[in-house]
Amino acid sequence: MLEEEYLNGWKRAKADLINYQKDEAKRFEDVVRFSNAVIIKDLLAVLDSFASFEKNLAQPKQDAVGFLAIQSQMQDILKNHGLEKIKVTVGENFNPQFHESVGEAESELPVGVIVEEVTGGYLLNGLVIRPTKVKLSKSK
């Protein structure tokens, strides 16, 4: 029946459109989130530099206080945009979901566990945008 074929085709086309619109809306959301992620990912380099600065600071001097404030300001802004630091503790098991191994170091700890966090890793809205770079223990 041609009539039925046409009607079904029409229904199908309608359904396709509605589905497409839904997909498109979702894709658009993803695009927005993704473009944010691109910028935030680039900014992580600045967070790294701040972290190195803080780490290399022997004694918080007066002029360093300002920098530390800028650091926390930056962290705060990015946190509001969904950025979260991946927490890593020494002795924790290596998990490639969250960690990337960049070297090994001798330690008393069991072989293969994390002995040092080299560069911080981050989650953006719950997804890993950069894994934490870590060193793993090896036997002495």
Binding site: A13, S49, F94, S101, G103, V128, L136
Partner: protein
């Protein structure tokens, strides 16, 4: 019906794409990335990892992390290539009982196709998750120079992964498919594929139903990674000169440099200069050391010039082997991320004397082509409804003789669109709706389909009445245009039967004209718009001066009046810039009225 996926199974990275509604698109993996490293590993805790996760532990687990297995698949252990690659690949490789190759991962030995199968299985699973349905069939691409044994092994890898391999497709052919060049009969195509680790050149000839590979060439150990290496060496050398520290001895610093070098390389495809800034790159007795260096595009090009030259030499040799003259090549396609580099594009362009195809993402071209092939094999779903498109844009004439488009060309019909317009003069009693068809910006250059008048618009100042114009094209291509005054609900309409009665030739001619006169038309439209703006501004300014009355100082009023006069004198001329300048001056001046009026009312601070 289950979908067929297209897979670009690369040496370092793989991609999956699918054709939906005739359009191929890349599918993201479970990690949300469009590319998946072709890497497999058995972690130190005995877990099997594939893709990004395998790559993340490669540095501390090199013996059990398998990558570049494509270099080994389907080869004999005694092949020169295998013997060469064996030297630098960090994992163990041995001869299998049948003379093939086996690699060691964890405690077991695997055939290369088994490793590839693990990559394919992940791609399949991720595609299924993304599509929400089972995937059972695939098109997988291989380099054009792959022999039967390598193709068979790749096919086996697919079968092991649970995929029915519908076709093993040549990578350059896939690239040509992605650009839709398979339809151009007797064309000769060169595909220049500069990947991360390998460089391939292929010369193709499109026959009746086939794409024939006429010649292949390349260098299996030349790629974008070599460019990175050159940049890193340069950075290390410079730092040694300026700061006296050898960063090559610091593994972590070297890794940061590697990332920075890659990033700089990417940035220099768009910019002419980039800054490589790595604070706290290392430390010595004197404390932390920082890395800061500017890298220019010219310097980068200098560093890799010989590599580009080498690729062009290979290119020339391959074209010659195909028995062709450079001038016989019709199309050139660029594939591989490194071809984003302007100097490389320039080198290829110079060699052929014509522009290569590069508008598709060069990392994704092969996967897109594989999906296009999958779409062909799958056969498009038979369309019960045949939907037409409007071949040309439709619109009406508006102030200044400009054509305002209501329905853009190539819109699928049936469709309806409306837009609200207003009057151009105070107390205008009627509007004329001049229905136009064509691509040119000015009304007079397009075809008039109809004219009608909507009258009875109540007196009002210009811009106040709201006239809604609706264009409706039904499934038979019949256009109805209606105009309605929203205040009175008075309306007028007209039906145009022949809106798509143009022949194909006429349509093409109109489109060609639009392209030909594009620049001239743009200027005309620009002038018309400048005049429209000027007119509105004059009107608004006069009104503002009148409304403000005594609130503004006489001298401001004077200047404004002078500027209004100045604009009035130029606005009927033909110089768009003069009109714009006069308008800008007036517009700057007119803001003073606001300042004067509001300034007066400002409460004085005590």
């Amino acid at each position: 019906m289950a979908k067929i996926i297209g897979i670009d199974l690369g040496t370092t990275y793989s991609e999956v794409a699918i054709t939906e509604a005739g359009v191929p698109r890349i599918l993201e993996n479970a990690e949300g990335m469009r590319i998946t490293p072709s890497t497999v590993a058995i972690s130190k805790s005995g877990e099997r990892l594939v893709g990004l996760l395998a790559k993340r532990q490669a540095i501390t687990n090199p013996k059990n992390t398998i990558f570049s297995v494509k270099r080994l698949i389907g080869r004999k252990f005694t092949d020169i290539e295998v013997q060469h690659d064996k030297k630098w690949l960090p994992y163990e490789i041995k001869e299998s009982a049948t003379g093939g190759v086996e690699v060691k991962m964890g405690d077991a030995w695997y055939k290369p196709e088994e490793i590839s199968a693990m990559v394919l299985a992940k791609l399949k699973a991720d595609a299924e998750a993304k599509l929400g349905e089972k995937v059972e069939e695939a098109v997988i691409t291989v380099p054009a120079y792959f022999d039967d044994s390598q193709r068979q092994a790749t096919k086996n890898a697919g079968e092991i992964a649970g995929l029915k391999v519908k076709r093993i497709l040549n990578e350059p052919t896939a690239a040509a498919l992605a650009y839709g060049l398979n339809r151009q009969k007797n064309e000769k195509i060169v595909v220049y594929d500069f990947g991360g680790g390998t460089f391939d050149v292929s010369v193709l000839e499109v026959g009746d139903d086939t794409v024939e590979v006429k010649a292949t060439g390349g260098d299996t150990h030349l790629g974008g990674d070599d460019f990175d290496k050159r940049v890193i060496e340069y950075l290390v050398g410079e730092y040694k000169k300026t700061d006296g520290v050898d960063l090559a001895k610091d593994a972590l610093a070297l890794q940061r440099l590697k990332e920075a070098a890659e990033r700089a390389k990417h940035e220099l495809s768009g910019a002419f200069e980039t800054e490589i800034n790595l604070p706290y790159i290392t430390s010595d007795a004197s404390g932390p050391r920082h890395f800061l260096l500017k890298l220019t595009r010219a310097k980068l090009e200098e560093l890799v010039r010989d590599l580009i030259d080498r690729s062009v030499q290979i290119l020339g040799k391959t074209v010659k082997e195909a028995g062709l003259d450079v001038s016989a090549i019709n199309e050139i396609i660029l594939v591989g991320g490194q071809t984003r580099m302007p100097a490389m594009q320039e080198a290829v362009k110079k060699y052929f004397g014509k522009e290569p195809h590069k508008n598709l993402n060069p990392d994704e071209v092969v996967a897109i082509g594989a999906a296009a092939q999958a779409g062909i094999l799958q056969g498009e779903v038979k369309d019960v409804l045949l939907l037409d498109v409007t071949p040309l844009s439709l619109g009406i004439e508006t102030l200044g003789g400009v054509m305002t488009r209501i329905i853009e060309k190539n819109t699928t019909v049936p469709t309806a669109k409306s837009q609200v317009f207003s009057t151009a003069a105070d107390n205008q009693p009627s509007v004329e709706i001049h229905v136009l068809q064509g691509e040119r910006p000015m009304a007079t250059d397009n075809k008039t389909l109809a004219r009608f008048i909507l009258d009875g618009i109540p007196p009002a100042s210009r811009g106040t009445p709201q006239v809604e114009v609706t264009f409706d094209i039904d499934a038979n291509g019949i256009l109805s245009v209606s105009a309605k005054d929203k205040a009175t609900n008075r309306s007028q309409s007209i039906k145009i039967e022949a809106s798509t009665s143009l022949t194909k030739e006429q349509i093409e001619k109109l489109k060609a004209e639009a392209a030909q006169y594009a620049e001239e038309d743009r200027k005309k439209k620009d002038l018309a718009e400048a005049k429209n703006n000027a007119e509105q501004l004059v009107y608004a300014s006069e009104k503002a001066v009148k409304d403000a009355g005594e609130k503004i100082p006489a001298e401001t009023k004077d200047t404004i009046t002078k500027k209004i006069e100045a604009l009035k004198t130029v606005k009927d001329g033909q110089d768009a810039n003069a009109i714009k300048n006069a308008a800008n001056e007036l517009s700057a001046e007119i803001q003073k009225i606001g300042a004067a009026v509001y300034g007066k009312n400002e409460p004085k601070s005590s």
